[in-house]
Amino acid sequence: MEKEIAIKLVNISKRFKNIYANKNVNLTLYKGEVLSVLGENGSGKTTLMNMLAGIYQPEEGEIYVNGELASIHSPKDSFKYGIGMVHQHFKLVDVFTAYENIILGLDRKTSKNTINEIKAIAQRYGFEVDLKKKIHDMSVSEKQTVEIIKVLYKNANVLILDEPTAVLTPQETNKLFNVIKKMREDNKSIIIITHKLNEVMEISDRVTILRKGEYITTLNTNETNEKELTEYMVGKKIDLNLERLRIQATQPILEIRDLNVLKDDGTVAIEHLDFYLRGGQILGVAGIAGCGQKEMCEAIVGLRKFKGSITHFGKSIVGFSPEKIKEIGISMSFIPEDRLGLGLAPNLSITDNMLLKTYNDNKGIFVDRTRGRKEAEDLIKRYNVVAPSTEVPVKNLSGGNIQKILVGREIGTNPNVIITAYPVRGLDINSSYMIYDILNEEKAKNTAILFIGEDLDVLMTFCDKIMVLCHGKNMGIIHTKNTNKEEIGLMMTGALDLTQVKKEEKYGIAEDSRLSEDEWKKLREEDQKNEDREQS
C-alpha cells in the first residue's frame, strides 16, 4: 500500500547556543496518518516542529510539502502550506473571545457566515464550544478545543499537537483521541509530540524517535512495543525500577488536618485535606496539573493563607512566617514550568543564589558572600554541577544544572521536612537519578519527604505511599505496593474516591499521632478562634 507523502524533512539542523537542538533529522509524514514524535524532554521534538510551524528557521536541510520544496520563514508561510500547530503553551489572547481568537491572522473577509463555518467544523469533529466565551473564563480543555478549531478553520491538512494530553484528564484525553481519529478519516495528517509511551501505542500509526536532537528511527506502531520504544528513546537499556529504600518510618513529623486553601482568584484550591508525613518515608502526590498542589505547598511553608491545623513535631505552626518555618527545618523546592520562576534569581550569580535563604543569618548589615561562595563551591563539587565559576548568572547554566543547584541548596539547609514539587521536571535520565539519590539519602536520615510528581511510574516505584488529589480533594492515600496505575488514574479523575468507598478508614489521620484527639480538638478550636478574630 503506497501512501501519498504530505511532508518530508531532510537533514534538518538547528543550533541554539552553538549546541545542536536538531542535527540531521529526517522525517516523513503520510497523508491520513497519525505520527508520534517521541523523545525525552530536551530531545528537540518541539524545536523540530517549530521549524515546520515557521517559528524557527532551520540552518540546514530541506522541507518538502506534497513533494515540493517548501520555503517556510514565518507562521504565515506555514499556513500557506496547510500546516497548523497547537503549541503546548496555548497561543491564545486571554481577553478575546473564542471567535476572535479563531479569526486571528485570517486573510479572508469575515462575515456572518464565518460563525456558521466554524460551528460546522466543531460539529463535524464533535467539539463543544461557546464562541462568545472569553478565553480567561475557559478551562484548559476548552482552550485546547479553541486552538484545534482555529487550526482546522485555517484549512490545515497537517496538524501538529505539542504534548496535547499533558494537561488533560484521561476522559478528556479519550475525547481528544476520538477527534484525532476523525481527522485521520478525513485524510488529514497529524503529528503528536509526546513522551508518553502508552499514548504512542494507542493513537499513532507510526512513531519517529528523537534522542538528544538526533534522529534515531521510525517504526510502525503495530510492530513494536513500549519496551523497544523506551530503549530507542533513552539510548541504553535502563532499569525502570527505581530503588525504593525500605527503612522503618518514624512517628509523624508533620501532621495536617482539615486544610482549606484558596487560589489567587478566590476559587477553592484545597478542601478539607488531612495527611501526615513520617520521617524516613516518602509520600507521593499524584494529580492532574493545577489541582491544588502548588497552593498546598505554599500554605504549608507560610506563603499562603489557609484554614486548618498544621503541626510540626506536635506543635502548631499555624500563623508562622515563611522565615520561621524555614528555621524549624521545613524546606520546599518547587520547580515551575519555566524552571526559574520560583526559588532562584536567574540573573544573579550562583553565590548569590546560594545565599537566598540564609543571607540574613549573619549579624550586621552586610551580606556574607565569602560563605556563599564556599557553599556554592561545595555544591558544585558534590553534585557535579557544570559551571565555569561560582560567579556566573544562574540563567547561563543548563536546565539540569539549575535544578541541581535549587534542590541541592534546599537540602543543604539540613531540613527535617522536605517538600519537593516536580524536582525532575525537564531533566535527562542521569540528572533525574541524581535527584532521586539525593532524596533517598535524605530519607535514610529520617527526613520526612513530600514528593509531588508528574510521572505515575516514578511515583509508583519511588514513593512509599501515594496521596491522590482531584480538584483539591483527597481521593485517598494508599501504599504503593497495594495499588496499580489504573486505580490511581481513576482517582485522579475523581471516578474513584477511596475516602467515600471505605469510609471506615480514616484517610490522612495517623493512628500514632503526636497529639491526642482531645488535643487536636483544642488546637482546632484555637485556630478557629484566630480565624474568627481575623475576619472581624
Binding site: L69, H73, E323, M332, L356, V367
Partner: protein, 370 residues
C-alpha cells in the same frame, strides 16, 4: 534549490550569548564618538563655523567655569543615583524630579517663615538649616513613597503615577510660591542673602559636590554589599523568588523608595541652601529625565554613571556656549544634542545584545549565538 533562497531576508537577528567587556566597550565607544562628531557638525552648520573652531569653543565654554561643570555633573549624577535602587528593583521611578521639587519647596517655605527671625532678630542660621534639612527630607520621602505604597498594595502602575506626581509637584510649587508672595506681600524672587544659606567653603559649589560624592559612594556600598542591596537585586530579578524565600516584597519596595526620596530630599535641600536659594517649577531642570536615562544606561554602575554624567554635562555646556557666543538660538540646542547621543547609545545597545548574521552562503555560521 536550498531553503536559503532569494526570499530570505538579507540578515537574521540572533541574540548574543557571550560578549567580552572589550567588545562592549568598543561598541559603546564607537556610538558615543559618532554621536559627538555628528553633534559638532550639527553645531557648526547652525553657527556657520568650521568644526574645529566649534570644538575650541566647547572646551573653552567648559573650562572657563570648571566649578559650574563639576556642579552640573554632580547634580546629574545625583539624579541618577536617586533612582538606581528603585530601577534595579524594576520600579520605574520617573518621579525624582517631583520629589526634589517639593523638598526644595519645603526648605524654601522655611526660609520665608524664618528669614526675618534670622536676619533681624538674632535667630540661629544653623538651627534654620537643620530644620530645612529635616523638612526637605520629609517632603522628599513623602512624595516618593505615595506611589510606592499604591504599587505595594494594588500594583498600581508606577511609571505613570510618578510622572503625574512630577506635574502635581510643579503645580504645588507654583501655588505655594504665589500664596507666600501674597501673604507676605513680598516678591518671592527677593530673598535674604544670609538666612538659609549654607556657609561657602572654597566655592559655593564645593559642598553640594562633596555631599553628592559621599552619597554616591554610600549608595555604591549599599547596593553591592548590604543585605538591603541584595534584597533589591533579588526582588528586581524575580519577585516570585523573593517572596518564596520569605522576603517581604512590600516592605522592600517602600523602604527602597524611602531611600530614593531621602536622596531627593537632600538634593532639594542642597538646591535651596547652596544653589538657587528659591524653589520654582524649574528646580531640578531637565536633570529629572536625563538622570533616569543616565541611571538606566549605566546599568546601575555608579562609576559609569559618574563618567556619563560628566560627559553629558561637558557636551551640554559646550554646545550651549557655542550657540550663545554665535548669538544663535537658545539653550535648547543641548536637548537636541543629548537626544542624539542617547539615540546613538540606544542603537549601540542593540549591537551589544544582538548580532546580525548576513545570509549569503548556504551554510550559515551562527557560532556563539542562538
Amino acid at each position: 534549490m536550498k531553503i536559503e533562497n532569494n526570499h530570505d531576508p538579507l540578515f537574521t537577528v540572533f541574540k548574543r550569548e557571550n560578549i567580552t567587556k572589550k567588545q562592549q566597550f568598543l561598541i559603546r565607544f564607537i556610538a558615543i564618538a559618532t554621536s559627538i562628531l555628528f553633534s559638532i557638525i550639527l553645531c557648526s552648520i547652525i553657527v556657520k563655523k568650521d568644526p574645529f573652531t566649534v570644538l575650541g569653543i566647547i572646551f573653552q565654554g567648559v573650562f572657563i567655569d570648571p566649578w559650574r561643570f563639576l556642579e552640573n555633573s554632580a547634580l546629574l549624577l545625583a539624579f541618577g543615583v536617586a533612582i538606581i535602587a528603585p530601577f534595579k528593583m524594576r520600579y520605574w521611578n520617573m518621579g525624582a524630579m517631583g520629589s526634589v521639587m517639593v523638598s526644595a519647596l519645603a526648605s524654601y517655605v522655611l526660609i520665608n517663615i524664618f528669614k526675618n527671625w534670622v536676619d533681624n532678630e538674632g535667630g540661629s542660621n544653623a538651627l534654620l538649616l537643620i530644620m530645612m534639612f529635616a523638612a526637605s527630607i520629609i517632603a522628599g520621602i513623602i512624595w516618593s513613597i505615595i506611589p510606592a505604597i499604591f504599587k505595594a498594595l494594588f500594583n498600581t502602575n508606577e511609571t505613570l503615577f510618578t510622572l503625574m506626581m512630577n506635574y502635581i509637584a510643579s503645580a504645588l510649587t507654583l501655588y505655594v510660591n504665589y500664596i507666600m508672595a501674597k501673604e507676605q506681600k513680598l516678591n518671592p524672587g527677593i530673598v535674604s542673602f544670609y538666612a538659609g544659606f549654607f556657609p561657602t567653603i572654597i566655592a559655593p559649589q564645593f559642598v553640594p559636590i562633596v555631599v553628592i560624592i559621599i552619597i554616591t559612594v554610600l549608595m555604591t556600598i549599599y547596593m553591592n554589599k548590604t543585605k538591603h542591596g541584595y534584597e533589591i537585586s533579588v526582588l528586581g530579578d524575580s519577585p516570585k523568588t523573593a517572596q518564596y524565600v520569605g522576603m517581604k516584597n512590600k516592605k522592600i519596595i517602600i523602604r527602597t523608595l524611602v531611600l530614593s526620596g531621602l536622596i531627593c530630599g537632600i538634593l532639594g535641600f542642597l538646591y535651596i541652601s547652596c544653589k538657587d536659594h528659591m524653589a520654582s517649577d524649574s528646580t531640578g531642570g531637565s536633570y529629572g529625565f536625563t538622570g533616569v536615562l543616565v541611571g538606566w544606561l549605566s546599568n546601575f554602575n555608579t562609576i559609569t554613571m559618574a563618567i556619563v554624567s560628566m560627559f553629558l554635562t561637558f557636551i551640554t555646556i559646550g554646545t550651549e556656549k557655542v550657540c550663545s557666543v554665535s548669538n544663535v538660538g537658545n539653550s535648547y540646542i543641548s536637548s537636541i544634542v543629548v537626544g542624539i547621543i542617547f539615540f546613538s547609545i540606544l542603537i549601540s545597545e542593540f549591537f551589544i545584545r544582538y548580532r546580525l548574521v548576513v545570509k549569503n552562503k548556504k551554510n550559515v555560521d551562527t557560532g556563539g549565538v542562538r
